[in-house]
């Protein structure tokens, strides 16, 4: 179910914003022309991901050499700095650890987040 979460031009070109979508805290990430949605709760100790920073993802280029991958933005939690790929919600270092992620698209200048139907049900209950 697509939910309109605002005007695309109102979002910073490279950044994120925490929003309330049907009663759930969601982080909306914009990385140039790409848009991503993540659940706004860090799987580590529950910190608000949306209070962290978005940056180009790290890429190991061998021992002692770290590169960045401009195509893979990561969200760095504002508490202890755990990092998650904005695209998938996966942790940058632990395959088994991830934040729920949601599809986001822009239609006619509006940002639409694909919210699971269960959110609406939870809200109605």
């Amino acid at each position: 179910m697509l939910v309109d979460v605002g005007e695309a031009s109102a979002f910073p070109e490279r950044g994120m914003r925490a929003l309330d979508v049907n009663g759930r805290r969601v982080v909306l990430v914009r990385w140039g022309e790409e848009w991503f949605g993540l659940y706004d709760r860090c799987p580590h100790q529950g910190g608000p991901l949306g209070q962290g920073v978005v940056l180009a993802g790290p890429r190991s280029e061998g021992v002692g050499r770290i590169g960045v991958d401009e195509r893979e933005p990561v969200v760095s939690c504002g508490w202890h700095g755990w990092q998650f790929y904005a695209r998938t919600g996966r942790s940058t270092w632990d395959e088994g650890c991830r934040v729920p992620s949601y599809r986001v698209e822009v239609r006619d200048g509006r940002v639409m987040l694909d919210a699971p139907p269960s959110w609406r049900l939870a809200r109605q209950a």
Binding site: Q45, G46, V53, S76, G78, W79
Partner: protein
């Protein structure tokens, strides 16, 4: 999830502007502090700095909306820490109290006085019964530190501890040169809180044995080195024999080292006690009787039970551990998360009773309420 009241022995608070402290200096030192014409002289020692992931040692949402320093705003602290986590007693312990490390020893004395006065007036004057705080002392001049303890302690009932962060004399804290501080603390009935950080951040060159770390990860993993040395020094110098009522809270050194260090001390004590004949009991007995340890930054092995198994190697460990958050630093711990890693049966002691013993607060009543 633990839902009872919590004592948090490690809450970092601050001033919104350094002018607040400078205004509390005596006229001569106020002039000194502002004499640079532009800005003012630093109110802390020049730091040794390992870069933080986000450029600051704070959680990023900890900054008040008005742009003032993290920990400086009561409303923010109330909203993020005191109210949601049921913190019934927060021990405010500055950020992190390295101000006595300023190079001018006389200025350090005056600075501690000004900070303590401001703290009583501003934070303790807030009237929130949950707020308690530390006394900051100039450790390079132990006699002056003792005078400051005696001056300030009677002024407010919510001064809960004497905070030692920076070993001003460059000696471990058990050195008899520091005894005036312990004598004064014992006299006014306050515990000593030993918080990690002075050696690490005051540019002392004593940050860690083996040489300076090359990254924050490397540094952070061994950051407890100086504090553990201070603990060993206090025990082997007989500080607790000299001041039998003295209690010590170790802050921000984690907990997994306890069995290792106590086993080591106990094993070597019978052989080497010749040098410490005044230490009448096994070091671990002194430790059990006088010392409590806060959990943060808690070790979190993949399987939580591994930490418990390790800790239980040291008998009575559940009587020694005290939860703390370290709000609002970047590596703070969250109560529900920490609680989930420890046995439920330990919770009342972990979150309240053990720290209550240190600070002289009543224990939880039978219904788990704060007295």
């Amino acid at each position: 999830m633990y839902e009872g009241p919590i004592i948090d022995p490690d809450v970092h608070h601050s001033w919104k502007s350094e002018d607040w402290i400078i205004d509390h200096l005596s006229p001569r030192w106020r002039e000194f502090a502002r004499a640079s014409g532009r800005g003012h002289v630093p109110l802390a020692a020049p730091g040794t700095h390992w870069p933080h992931l986000h450029g600051v040692n704070k959680r990023l949402d900890g900054y008040p909306a008005d742009g003032s320093p993290s920990g400086s705003d009561y409303e923010t602290m109330k909203r993020q820490l005191l109210d949601p986590f049921h913190i019934e007693r927060a021990i405010l312990s500055f950020d992190v109290g390295t101000n006595p490390g300023v190079f001018n020893a006389d200025f350090a004395i005056e600075l501690c006085r000004a900070i303590n006065d401001w703290n009583i007036e501003y934070w303790l004057g807030m009237g929130d019964p949950r707020l308690y705080s530390a006394i900051l002392v100039p450790t390079r001049t132990p006699e002056a530190a003792a005078r400051e303890i005696r001056r300030v302690a009677p002024r407010h009932g919510h001064l809960a501890e004497v905070l030692l962060v920076y070993s001003g004399l460059g000696k471990p804290f058990g050195d008899p040169a520091y005894d005036p501080i312990y004598a004064a603390a014992a006299e006014v009935g306050l515990p000593i809180a030993l918080h990690v950080g002075g050696e690490l951040t005051c540019g002392t060159g004593r940050a860690m044995a083996g040489g300076m770390a090359g990254s924050r990860l490397e540094m952070h993993a061994v950051a407890s080195q100086p504090t553990l040395h201070h603990l060993v020094s206090l025990i082997t110098h007989g500080t607790f024999e000299k001041f039998p009522s003295l209690k010590l809270m170790l802050i921000e050194v984690g907990v997994a080292w306890i069995p290792w260090l106590m086993f080591t001390l106990d094993a070597q004590y019978p052989i080497l006690r010749l040098e410490s004949p005044w230490v009448k009991r096994l070091p671990s007995e002194t430790f059990r009787e006088h010392v409590r340890v806060t959990t943060q930054p808690c070790e979190f092995p993949e399987q939580p039970k591994r930490l418990i198994e390790l800790l239980q190697c040291f008998d009575g460990i559940e009587d020694l551990l005290c939860f703390c958050t370290d709000y609002a630093h970047w590596d703070e711990d969250e109560p529900a998360y920490v609680g989930s890693r420890f046995p439920r049966a330990w919770w009342p002691k972990l979150f309240w009773d053990n720290a209550a013993w240190v600070y002289g607060f009543p224990r939880l009543d039978t219904a788990g309420r704060a007295g």
